[in-house]
Assembly symmetry: C2
Homo-oligomer: 513 residues x 2
């Protein structure tokens, strides 16, 4: 097994001409890079931190070395004081690719809705992230492809199933209905878990979950087309400036002292080694801006004003005549990377959290093809290529991607037809400003697998903590979600509830019923 | 990793007083032991044997040693000449714990029904059985717990999902509706696959699939109570003779030259080492007799007459006055083990096929608690004990069972309520003479998850090849199953079919629809 060079950002490939910067879910790597620490706050939600001894590999029975076959999964338990007690609902957040405390802090809906249903709140951390490290430490867990082997969505969902089963048993609360929540990749997990483990939950809120962003189910250009569109709708000239900037950047970079000049223009701490580094840094900013283009100020990824793309484009557009294209671009992204104005210079390779987990997942099963289209996009044309993508993964992790595995395991093609009579009780939320909505479920599949679409919403805005500035449509769609959840619970506790109780006591009833 | 002593029959434990003979699905170990070779016949069903390079571990991304990470899965393809061609239905049998050719020969319904629907027939072999051996040989695959690690239901179902996905692609027939079939353990796989991979099939026929035979969902005594009842309904005195035989057997065994005398009474080739060996041999006969208590002659496990329990009981009952209890028992089981009259002596440890696969599965995830009840059963009282069961597994395989894993992974508790609005298109067939019906789904769960129950049927009799002697109720219930399948296919090809076609061509349609 070859040693694994830990990549900080797989998207940081040599050149935009040869590869596209892979958008990432807003994980920890997207957190403030310098001088800003607010994202870790827990917003006053009280919880107890617990750990559960979890099996590393649910799907084989090889007896592992003592200890190595298990790891401690962290989970947070809150609203215990307001819980209905045994049999009461459990709101369970399916942790995604980062520290679970950060998702807990940014998923206010779960906390705020729980008391209305007297629900217990549980946030479970995803294996290989935060503190939930196999092999005793992050260093060992991320050591090589052998240690990373069990970082998969299927194993993570099985973790949640086992954790919930045990938790309910320990609470003497086997009858508790569980409502799953998740945003982004966590939303994919929530939806998939509802489909794969219907006996574990009564429903799932899958927010901004791009479960269709695989193979050719949606066009590979859709993500960046939507990013581009978010800029175009604010300002055509802003869109045009960005579209023209890539050539300007290459031209300057290829000129004499080009990389040095570029580094100065963009106030970088170190001199660029390639123009690709800068292109990726810019692409990332645009992508994340599109994800968090909220109508209210936020600190989810970075401290940002309301409608940040509008602000970025204002900075790009409103420069003195004669300001160069690249100077405008710098003025724009400065809003994203330095809204607080405290950054002296930018470190493109600064990843204080050193998370490589999503890169591994993207190189194994989470293969989401991403291209830049020629017409619709403000990015330089690029066509996703499975073969070169696969080679990058072999070089980076010594692992070969399985691009068709996710659709084999979880489906996706013709999803509405497959699920129309199969499955129930899933809310798919999407905000259309969010580029991940391109891979989302945007129409109702059945009476109980429903799509809630917010034309002016961005990445899982429904889950964010309520604020006084929330627009009416946001308040209203959150109420719709809670109404649906309320229906799931009433349904469970109603005619069904009685039967569940009987079934628990009398096995033959349940076998024969 | 300690070397693995290959067990021939886990049920062969020291004494019936300390453990119950675990009933097994009628796998190859239940095939004729001596002088009878008809079970391997293919009954004139023509098929092509093919092999598919299958991944050993679907759920981790550890790069295995070259070659070891894959194995050749055998599958049989038939009715190709009568297939409708691209887009036509595929009838897919989910292989169980044995040689797939044997299941193909004994699942006539699949072959006989296929031409009516112009369906292609595929029988896929279960990993670690027949020719589908990881690591290049059965010896290596069964070497130890490390090599056996990937012999699980989840991996087998994933094999089927991957095989089907690839097969359809290679046939340029992505739109083909797949109907899953399976009997016994294969029926469990078919049902679970329909639930876990709804995008891969349009429905499943799960015949005699005891998916509820886990934990406390059904009483642990139910299997042997049903075996006992099959004897009692034929003859109360027969039941009573068997019930009294265990003590007689122990008494004689504990007397002077007891084991020698017993060995002579039962015409054994070798002298018994313990009475438990004989008890298990007898228990197995009764269990298998109950499973194959068909109203017509059969050669599924052994060549047997119609209504074999009636014949066994006739032999037990109709002896001269003064015939001892054990001589009666011998006369009875002789019907089972030696109906053709060609056996000179019986070899209790003769397992020509040397299958240990199901024992491994029973020692890992397929933990089906089995007890002998005091009142209802003709067996000596025994209460299943997780702890001693687990110790046996550690001693035999170096592996610890996970008795709660199957219900965590696949559900089972309150199944009708969980699935009432979740899932669709499953037929659960059960014959009430079959002791496995105790763990089966016996009532409709919803409009499309239906139970077909044959009061006079035994183990997956519906799947067996049609014969001229089939009773009316059997002909009629097979027609019911085909009617339901026909409905699934019409449904698929009807309004849905058109949409499926459109979805395939236009990704945005399917994303948005």
């Amino acid at each position: 097994m070859r040693p694994l060079p830990l990549l900080l950002f797989l998207g940081f490939l040599p050149s935009v001409a040869s590869a596209v910067a892979l958008p990432r879910f807003p994980g920890p790597h997207a957190r403030p890079r310098r001088g800003v620490g607010a994202a870790g706050a827990v917003r006053g939600y009280d919880y107890e931190t617990r750990y559960f001894r979890q099996r590393l590999d649910h799907f084989s029975f090889r007896e592992a070395e003592e200890g190595e076959g298990f790891f401690e999964q962290r989970y947070l338990v809150g609203r215990a004081g307001e819980w209905a007690g045994a049999g009461g609902p459990i709101f369970f957040y399916c942790g995604n690719e980062g520290d679970i405390a950060w998702f807990a802090a940014n998923s206010g809906l779960v906390w705020e809705a729980a008391p209305r249903f007297a629900a217990l709140v549980v946030f479970a951390e995803h294996r290989y992230y935060g503190e939930s490290m196999p092999f005793g430490s992050k260093e060992k867990a991320y050591n090589n492809s052998k240690s990373l082997a069990f970082l998969t969505a299927e194993q993570a969902i099985a973790d949640y199933a086992v954790l919930l089963t045990n938790l309910k048993r320990n609470l003497s609360s086997d009858g508790s209905p569980v409502v799953l929540f998740g945003g982004s990749y966590g939303g994919m997990l929530a939806a998939w878990m509802r489909l794969k483990y219907p006996h574990i939950s009564v429903g799932a809120v899958a927010s901004s979950a791009p479960i269709l962003q695989f193979e050719d189910i949606v066009p590979s250009t859709i993500f960046y087309d939507l990013v581009s569109n978010d800029f175009k709708r604010e300002s055509l000239s802003c869109f045009q400036t960005i579209k023209e900037s890539w050539k300007a950047l290459e031209d300057q970079g290829n000129g004499q002292d080009g990389l040095l000049k570029l580094s100065k223009t963009f106030h970088l701490c170190q001199t660029l080694k390639t123009t690709g580094e800068l292109s990726d840094w810019l692409s990332s900013a645009y992508s994340y801006l599109a994800m968090v283009d909220y109508p209210i100020p936020s600190e989810f990824l970075m401290p940002l004003p309301a409608n940040p793309i509008k602000e970025v484009c204002r900075n790009i557009d409103n420069q003195l005549d004669g300001t160069s294209n690249l100077e405008r671009i710098y003025a724009g992204v400065n809003i994203y990377y330095n809204y607080t104005g405290t950054v002296d210079c930018f470190d493109l390779n600064d990843d204080p959290h050193g998370m490589g987990g999503w890169d591994w997942q993207a190189c194994t099963e989470m293969v989401m093809p991403m291209s830049y289209s020629e017409d619709m996009s403000m990015f330089p044309t690029y066509k996703f290529d499975y073969s070169s993508y696969g080679e990058d993964c072999i070089n980076s992790f010594g692992v070969r991607p399985r691009p068709q595995w996710i659709t084999t395991e979880f489906g996706g093609h013709n999803i509405s037809l497959v699920l129309e009579r199969f499955g129930s009780n899933i809310i798919f939320f999407n905000g259309l400003l969010d580029p991940w909505s391109g891979g989302g479920v945007l129409k109702n599949i059945s009476d109980s697998i429903v799509a809630i679409v917010a034309p002016l919403g961005a990445h899982h805005i429904d889950l964010r903590p309520a604020t006084k500035e929330d627009p009416g449509w946001l308040v209203s769609l959150r109420e719709s979600e809670l109404d649906i959840i309320s229906g799931w619970l009433s349904d469970y506790y109603g005619a069904r509830g009685a039967l569940f109780q009987r079934g628990a006591g009398s096995p033959r009833d349940s076998a024969a019923s």
